[in-house]
């Protein structure tokens, strides 16, 4: 496995658009060639070498190329843009649009990630050890084509509208999430192990969401179906029990919403619909 390490030469102030930091762009290149790859520092076109110390030798193909980024790159955006394979390890916090339009390979972030992780993602895997921002896997405004395939795992908390317009793939948040997870969702799976700020699955047409923690209320247009013992996530079965809701009926949606019974005693009144 070839390895290339990037280390910021300075603390970045203006946004850095670094679409070229991908195994696909690094494979088969010398360090000098990598250093010449173009990035944007605000409104200036600069080379990677001007902003980063670069060391190591990449693999022959993206598959066997690993990029390690040390230091604080919270201002560096679009790392992993359209990558098809290989790995990126980011040791500190990272900026927006991490892994945008990603098709394969794996990105691991040890710090926090900003918003729009995995925008327009088509495959591959992103794992954020820290917290993440809003709109995980969501498309840009006005576009209805969200995340298609792939997996995003966030160990910390995430913000609002994760999985917006989702069309497939899986998002797992071990911590809490903000409001509107799975809004406009068509397909795919969202698992929230922590609490959710509410309005879960608004306008959803399909797909399934599970919330293991507390949720303040269920949107008016989700009907209570039944109590389920577990929630199927790929091969794994997550133990319930869960209240299962279907919605969003305002959109004639058939999305499935699993809400942990144990953490949501205040939703008990729904059980009267069981008789």
């Amino acid at each position: 496995m070839g390895e290339v390490t990037l280390k910021p030469k300075v603390i970045f102030k203006v946004p850095i658009i670094a679409e070229t930091i991908t195994p696909d762009n690094f494979a088969r290149k010398s360090i000098e060639e990598i250093a010449k790859l173009e990035v944007w520092e605000g409104n200036r076109k600069v080379t990677l070498g001007e902003l980063f110390e670069i060391a190591g030798t990449p693999g022959e193909t993206p598959t066997d190329t690993k990029i390690i980024i040390e230091g604080d790159v919270r201002k560096v955006r679009r790392i992993g843009y359209k990558m098809t394979d290989g790995q990126i390890l980011i040791k500190g916090p990272v900026g927006m649009y991490l892994g945008e339009k990603m098709e394969g390979g794996k990105i691991i972030v040890e710090g926090d990630a900003d918003s729009w992780v995995g925008t327009g993602m088509k495959g591959g895997q992103i794992e954020i050890k820290g917290n993440a921002g809003d709109y995980i896997g969501a498309p840009y405004r006005g576009d209805t084509k969200g995340m298609k395939k792939g997996t995003i795992i966030i160990h910390g908390n995430a913000g609002n509208e994760i999985g917006c317009w989702m069309r497939g793939g899986t998002i797992i948040v071990k911590g809490n999430v903000g409001a509107f997870p799975g809004i406009h969702m068509k397909k795919g799976t969202i698992l929230v192990e922590g609490d959710c700020a509410g309005r879960c699955g608004a306008m959803m047409k399909g797909g399934k969401i599970a919330v293991l923690g507390h949720i303040p209320s269920i949107l008016p247009r989700f009907t209570f179906d039944e109590i389920k013992k577990s929630f199927k996530l790929k091969k794994e079965k997550i133990k319930g029990p869960f209240y299962l809701f279907t919605g969003d009926l305002n959109e004639n949606g058939a999305g499935k919403l699993y809400v942990s019974i144990e953490k949501n005693k205040h939703l008990q009144f729904y059980e009267k619909y069981l008789e």
């Binding site: 498309p139 840009y140 405004r141 006005g142 576009d143 209805t144």
Partner: protein, 563 residues
Amino acid sequence: MELLIKNGYVYDPINKIDGEKMDIAVKDGKIVESVSSSAKVIDATNMLVMPGGVDIHSHIAGSKVNSGRILRPEDHYKDVKPRTAITRAEVGHTVPSTYTIGYRYARLGYTTVIEAASPPLKTRHTHEELNDIPLIDKSCYLVLDNNWIVLDYLSQGEINKCAAFIAWILKALKGYAIKIVNPGGVELWGWGKNVESLDDQVPPFDITPREIIRGLCKVNKILNLPHTIHVHTNNLGKPGNYRTTIETMDAVGDLANGRPNIHITHVQFCGYAGYSWITLRSGAPEIAKYVNNHPHVTIDLGQIVFGEATTMTGDGPFQYILHNLTGNKWKNADVEAEGSAGIVPYKYRRKNMVNAIQWSIGLELALLIKDPWRLFLTTDHPNAGPFTEYPRVIAWLMSTKAREKTMEKINKRAKKRGVLASIDREYTFYEIAIITRAATAKALNLENKGHLGVGADADISIYNINPMEIDPSKEYKKVRRALKRAAYTIKGGEIIVKDGEIVKSFIGETFWVKPTMSKDLEREVLKEVSEKFKEYYTVSLENYVIGESELASSKPITVKTNF
């Protein structure tokens, strides 16, 4: 500045020039007999030379177009081009920015474009956008058929006062012609309703769509306006609507005197036979038959091109129907006392039977209507597709092979719903020059446009194909590629495009009509209009009027009326 275009094969139908090898001399923005030896020379040997394109119907400026831009950021993300030293940044696919529209038309070799529908109350916005569209000369039609003051006058039979009001409004708001959009239907859309036929009542006005169309046709004659009434028919986009279209044409047949007196726009959208979407069939043969036998009618195509589009019309009720059909996001914006506007993003798919039939209807109309002088090429940009696809439509018209290739890829059932497969007519370069330059300039009565005779504006397009050697039927791809990026576009004697790239940018002229009218007739009508304004409108009459200084480059055309 002197220019000499040497040895090109010139197609100038207004002057009956059909592919003659000749020189074109240009001096101070005009075509001249000859120029001095110091003139800059363009060697157009083995190249196709035509007058600059004239687009008679395109949604390029104003509140409707801008609503489309704001509604569809997704239309802009993937279609961007950074700024250069000469050009502003370009953005947008079906609803491009103002600068992008000017540059793209120039690259196609088009030099005059008309905004197809501007509600009077928002025409100041239309002009502010037209001011920001570089290079092309331009104007706008005012939507007047659902205007309360017009409807008041017409329903009271006051044709002369209606004519005086329309003369005033064209002058006050700097418009060019009378635009009619689903007459009566859009007024009822103010209550969420619509009309079904030409003879429905339009309460509270005691009037029908037929009477609105006839009234405005008479007004057009009284005012002697350069262009005829420009009509978007009732029942647009509805299966079986070809009958309404023929009835609409026929409604003013008796008022004509040899010259055309009605233009039906984007006829593809109103050329549907059958009675439901499943039974949809082409109504083109019937419409073509009528047009061939009635010289008082001109039409433009509204040809479908497969792919992304943004439907935007003043026909509010139709856009709501389209929203319910597709579920796509819908924007509606009614205008007090004047009309409406609706926008719905749409994608034409080859495998969709309805889209495939719509595609063939447009081409059937073009191929079945014999007189190219009464038929204009449009895609009702961006309703049936962006104007940048004109070369693709031209390839379909010039080559049966191009049509067959597309027919192989479209929904199979569509073939039996029309007659396209049986038509083998192929347009010549001469005919293409007619339907994209000459006929449109004539229909607009722009005497200095659409031709290369001495005295005309020096708007010229030169394409890198040899019309004498190429066989458009077989090498339609080459034709398409050559027409997409002009080798040279010259506007007002200045070279603005070279090999498909913008080499110079400036602002063209906005032309508008100034119908002559006696002072006291104007004063009398204005007295009544200002009373109505207080009740109908939320702006004062004074602030409704647009000053000539608000136009970046104003070119008024005085029109001698027949009051």
